[in-house]
Structure formats: structure tokens, C-alpha cells
Amino acid sequence: MSASDILVLAETVRGNLSGIVSELLGAARSLAHATGGQVLALLLSSDGTPFVPSLQAADRILLVNHPALAEYAPEPFLAALQAVVQAETPRAVLIGSTSIGWDMAPLLAAKLPAPLVLGCQQATIEDGHLRAVCGLCGGKMLAEVRIQEAPAILMILPGSFAPASGPGKAEVQTIPPPDLPGADGAGIVFRQWILPPPGDVDITSQDILVAVGRGIQQKENLEPIQQLAEVLGGAVCASRPIVDQGWLPTTRQVGKSGMTVKPKLYLALGISGAPEHVEGMAGSDLIIAVNTDPKAPIFDVADYGVQMDLMDLVEPLAQAIQTRKK
């Protein structure tokens, strides 16, 4: 154990290691290089052995195996995470800004208690101090913060750090679990996974996506946008507010809590470009964004931008495309 180690929570969802874990390991490696400590990957599950080959970028892989950890549930996961953090006393704990991370990071910070930073996009050690850059207010502000106290809990924004590369020679250590609340003792018990209903368009396999955001203002405006998508031979998808309004199903949602898409064309209409949305579409080949706000963050990731009310553009664009296709 060392106060210079960096601990990564290696989360799994439905039997798969989450995509962000390799980024967390990359961030941890960079920090551990500066602190002189080790990178620790913590995996909480019923049996973590199958995941060991995927965590070789760590120096030590810590496995806590227990039947109560077979599927995610907040109480046993928090109890196990807290016990390991208290035993290992790392300098920092890196947790992904994911569905599980949004439970674990703030709960751990509240329980220990320990400093917590959300939306972390950069993390460095300078003069012995941990420094981080974090986004807030939907990406419209960046905060540069310093954290002296250890362990610092950093919630890492996906896409912010290069994944750790190369196989290593990680030492595997199985840690006896603490007393964990099981199905009888826990207040929150996992029941089942619910998968999206089949039959809707799979937006992850579309070459062309027309994405709509809050800027469409009313549900009726979806119709001409649907027509534009048909003219383009693509499908309509959306940012979270549109799905929250019930205007499109969750299967059409792009972003952190929705789908990750990489189409050849992503036409973003009335989408501001909050980090949670950009996370799901930044890998698109060509991004064209239309927004009335010239400072909208979407223009930072788009190849081409148009400052205009999207509804003024939709019909002329559909006509122009139809004309060229003839």
C-alpha cells in the first residue's frame, strides 16, 4: 500500500469490461509515473479471473470475488470499494463518469469522506499536488482545481485520456471480501437486465444520422426532419432532452447514457454539444452542426457549422439534396 498509488475501478456491465477502463488505466499510468506509485486495477465481481488479461496495463490487479458482486448493486459494491480504498490508501481513485460511476464516486466520497471532482478531463501531478481540469455547466465552463487531500476521487469523462497500451506483468491479488450485504440484507437488490425492444432502427449501424436536440422546440418539428433523413437515406436520432420528452424512444438516444455512433455523416440539428452527447458521436467521420448559438460547444467538434435556426434550413436542404440526387 502506498499513498502514491493510483487505484482504478474496473467496472463491468453485463459480463463485459466497460470501455472506459482502458482510459482510466491510461490516466492512472500517467499519474503514477509522477507520484512514483503503482497502478492498481480493482475488479468487483463474482469471479474476476476472466478479466485479468484485459487489465494487464495495471501493476497490480485486485480481485474481490463474492456472490453479492455478481451483478451491480450499490451497497455491496460500495462496501467492497470502500474497504479496498481504506486498506490501500491510494493518492487517487479513478472512476468512470458512467451509470455505475455516478453512484460509486459520490457515495465513496461521502462515506470516507474524501474530496471528489466530477467531469475530469485532465489530471496531473505538479509539485506534488494533484491538479485536474473539469467541465461543468454542460461544458460551458472549465474549472482548474487543486486537491491536496488523499485519496482524491476523480470521476473521469470518457474520451479524455489515451487508453493504456501494451501488455504488462501485472501481479494478481485476490482480496478477501469484507462483510457484504446480500439479497437479504441490502436495501437495493438487482433483479434483471431489461434490453431495448427489438424492431426499432439500429442507429449504431447507420451511415447517415440526422440528430435533433432541444433546438427543435416542439414534437411537430420532427416530421420535416424525418423527411430530411429519408431523403439522405439515414435515420433520425436525438440528444437526451428529446428522449426525456418522449418524442423519440431511448433506442434513438446518442450519448453517455444512450448509443455510441460513428456514422459517415452526423448532421446535428439544434444540439448544443454537452460533453455527455459528444461522448457518443465524436467519432463520426463528418459532423455538420446547425445551431443558433455561435458559442455552442458542438461547433468545437463539428467539421462544418451553420449558425441558423435549424427549421429555416431543413426544407431547403432536403430540396437541394433531392435536386442533386436527380
Partner: protein, 257 residues
């Protein structure tokens, strides 16, 4: 079911945000405040549960920003009790950790079976209210919730959202705190006339709560808008001209078929 909903005011992101003279915090004096979006969903989810099962909905907020309007709007939607926790610093709201302790103090004697809070407020940087509140109350917590229903008198069935439109369903024993991402239906609309009527028919109970001392564990060295990245190439002209340019661009890249 006796439900409590905690709501917060946040700066409206439609309006420009300014940094104050310290260079380390938002200039809240120049901000317009609105109800935190996920708190609006928490209220909607509470009202849906009440309509399905009976019971009551109490709405709690710290006295900051334009909170009275949000509380009266909650009453117009169907909330039964409005509670405003007194707060005397007009320049900033309490830290999430402070707010959690204040809400916990008021919630304990209120004894709700369920507390719903929006999973996140966009201006939170170093603390998240709902899990802090759950830890203060000693109740279980799960967040990123997108649906709640009764479990045949056994508690609740709660759906937590994961990527790819996948949900995990949990059985939740009460009491508990849930961090709501989205309600099962969009927050209901109430016309201004009903909010005005609620201002006359409803009362906001002002309540004092002990404001715990709080020393921030995270030091903000600088707050600023992000430096301009490599921006998109902007297409200008009339809608027709821009449409023609985009169509030409797509044709050039082989994207018209």
C-alpha cells in the same frame, strides 16, 4: 406513499455565463436561475407515484434564486406541501454537502418513505447532492434512474439506465433515496394561470435548518470558458445558399445515394 422531492435552482445555460471577479466562481448575480432539469423529472416521477398509489408529495428547496416560483409551480402540478429552507447568503447556494445535511435535518422529522432528487445539477463540481443526502440519512441510494413503480406492496421496482438503451431493474426497500435522470413521462406542463392560482391557495413553509460549517476539499484555482478549440468551418449565407453548399459537400464526399 409519503414522498419528498428535493429541488434546486441552477443557472440557465441558454443565457451567457460569466465568471466573477475572483476568477474562480460563476458570477451568480448575472445568471438567470431555473429549476434543475432532472429535479423537474424527480417531481414528475413523485407525482406519478402519488397518482398510482395515493399518498403525498412534499417539495423541499433551499431559499436561493427564483425558488418560490419553482415551489408554486410544483404545487400547481399537484405537490401537497412546500418547504423552503432558509439560507442567508444571496451570493451562492450551499455546497452540496452542506445542503445534504440541511435537507437531512428537515427530512428526519418529516419521515418520508422515499426521497427523489435529480441525479445531478450541471453546476456541481465537487459534490453530488442525492448520494450525500442518502449517506446523511443512512438510507440506500441508487442513481441514474429512469423509471419507478410499486412492487406489489414490497417496496419499489426501479430502472437504472445504462448505455445502449439497456436498463437494470432493482428491487428497492424503503426508505431510500433515488437519483432521478428521467421520469416515466415528460414533466407535465402547467399554465401560468394555475401557478398564479397556486400562489394564492398554497403556502410555502419557511424552515430553519442548521447550516453546517463546510471547508471545501477541492480548491478551484481558475474558472473559465473553454479555450476555443479548432472550430468548425462556418458556412454562411441564406438558408438556400447554405443548403446548396451542404448538398455539394455531401455529393463531393460520396454521401448522396
Amino acid at each position: 406513499m409519503k414522498i419528498a422531492v428535493v429541488i434546486r435552482q441552477v443557472p440557465d445555460l441558454i443565457e451567457p455565463l460569466e465568471v466573477d471577479s475572483s476568477g474562480k466562481a460563476l458570477d451568480l448575480g448575472s445568471a438567470t436561475f431555473i429549476l434543475n432539469e432532472s429535479d423537474d423529472h424527480a417531481l414528475e416521477q413523485a407525482l406519478l407515484l402519488k397518482e398510482a398509489q395515493g399518498g403525498s408529495v412534499s417539495v423541499l428547496a433551499v431559499d436561493f434564486g427564483d425558488v418560490d416560483n419553482s415551489l408554486y409551480a410544483a404545487a400547481a402540478k399537484g405537490a401537497d406541501q412546500l418547504i423552503k429552507l432558509l439560507w442567508d447568503d444571496p451570493n451562492r447556494p450551499p455546497w452540496p454537502q452542506q445542503a445534504a445535511r440541511m435537507f437531512a435535518e428537515v427530512l428526519r422529522p418529516l419521515a418520508p418513505e422515499l426521497v427523489l432528487v435529480g441525479v445531478q445539477a450541471h453546476d456541481e463540481l465537487d459534490g453530488v447532492l442525492p448520494p450525500e443526502l442518502a449517506v446523511c440519512l443512512g438510507w440506500p441510494y441508487v442513481g441514474v434512474v429512469r423509471g419507478v413503480k410499486a412492487d406489489d406492496g414490497q417496496g419499489l421496482l426501479v430502472r437504472k439506465e445504462f448505455p445502449g438503451a439497456v436498463m437494470a431493474e432493482f428491487a428497492v426497500r424503503l426508505p431510500a433515496v433515488l437519483g432521478i435522470l428521467g421520469a416515466e413521462q415528460p414533466p407535465r406542463y402547467v399554465p401560468v394561470s394555475r401557478i398564479r392560482a397556486a400562489m394564492k391557495s398554497s403556502q410555502i413553509a419557511e424552515q430553519e435548518a442548521t447550516v453546517p460549517p463546510w471547508a471545501a476539499r477541492v480548491e478551484v484555482a481558475r474558472l473559465s470558458p473553454p479555450a476555443p478549440a479548432e472550430r468548425a468551418e462556418m458556412l454562411t449565407g441564406s438558408a438556400e445558399e447554405v443548403a446548396q453548399r451542404i448538398a455539394a459537400l455531401l455529393e463531393e464526399k460520396g454521401l448522396l445515394r
